[in-house]
Assembly symmetry: C2
Homo-oligomer: 191 residues x 2
């Protein structure tokens, strides 16, 4: 990935923050006004270089069709941090939690009870469940029992499917395949 100049970084930062604030990208004119450029071409050139250097994705002819390559809709994972304040985190980057792809067919369930404490899932935690993915033996899955959703380990045996709680005090429950909601792909806890 090619490095950005100071100015290019400023432009990218403005776009990123704008998208973060409004949910859509700024128009050329809005960028121009913010930086007090006297020509719209100043914007065009900057955007072209940001696209060429791989920091922006731009869909031609469409209005406000800008996306940052590392959108804040995912949470940037910062591995290393440069010492000495002011700490610049934006430039270090090891990927994203929750990319748009991760968020396809996903929902969250709030956990009540202690049946998954052995798996470090506690009362009040949220489990993040992905629909329409293959579930395998040993996966933690969400399923419907009666009128409620529960989180259990999956055990497949021949033609039978069991839900196994992490807490050995509870017994496995047999269920039908169509009651599986999806695979648990993450746990989240508000601190």
């Amino acid at each position: 990935m090619k490095k950005l100049t100071q100015r290019q970084f400023e432009i990218l930062k403005f776009i990123t923050q704008f998208i973060n604030k409004y949910g859509y990208a700024p128009s050329f004119e809005e960028i121009r006004l913010f930086f007090k450029f006297k020509s719209p071409n100043a914007v065009t050139c900057h955007l072209n270089t940001l696209v060429n250097k791989g920091y922006l994705i731009k869909d031609s002819t469409r209005a406000r069709a800008l996306r940052t390559r590392f959108p804040l809709s995912g949470i940037p994972i910062v591995g290393k941090i440069a010492a000495g304040p002011p700490i610049i985190i934006e430039n270090f980057f090891e990927g994203s939690l929750f990319t748009p792809d991760d968020l396809m067919d996903v929902f969250a369930l709030k956990i009540t009870g202690d049946s998954m404490e052995q798996a470090h899932i506690y009362d009040g935690d949220y489990v993040i469940v992905k629909k329409n993915v293959e579930v395998r033996n040993g996966d933690i899955i969400a399923a419907v029992i009666g009128e409620e959703a529960t989180i259990k380990y999956l055990r497949k045996e021949k033609n039978k499917i069991f839900l196994v709680p992490a807490n050995p005090a509870y017994k496995p429950i047999e269920i039908k395949e169509n009651l599986i909601l999806g695979k648990v792909i993450g746990v989240f806890r508000k601190v």
Copy 2:
């Protein structure tokens, strides 16, 4: 919240999926083409009702300035689930994990080590850190010690600031205020 008709739900669904796919909202014309409306006013009317019912936010005169009130950039928290498949989750809804607001000034750090196990934060977990927020006594915070970032409890005493590990085997460390990165607002674990 007012209920949506079947048709209105279809429109909202299209917009939501479009935003999810492209990162920006569809234009009126693109909505018109998808639903094969012969008049642009069909779109205008539908969007107005979606705005009036509180499902959409629309910034007037701007192009593609649509936001869904419950964007998929946040994960919908599903509390109750209607029994009997096919299970309709879209209509039940208790809020969102990670709204755009939550994601302002946020980054993630991957945890190494066991110093926060007592707080149920384990090796390999990600802590989600928010910058530019007030930190209080007892908060879990991220700070820089030497060249590394660490997660500890905060203890303020008169003019001194200490970082206290959850594990009592480790001792508190005194630091300066400007080395605080932010407040830990969540913990995430990939399953």
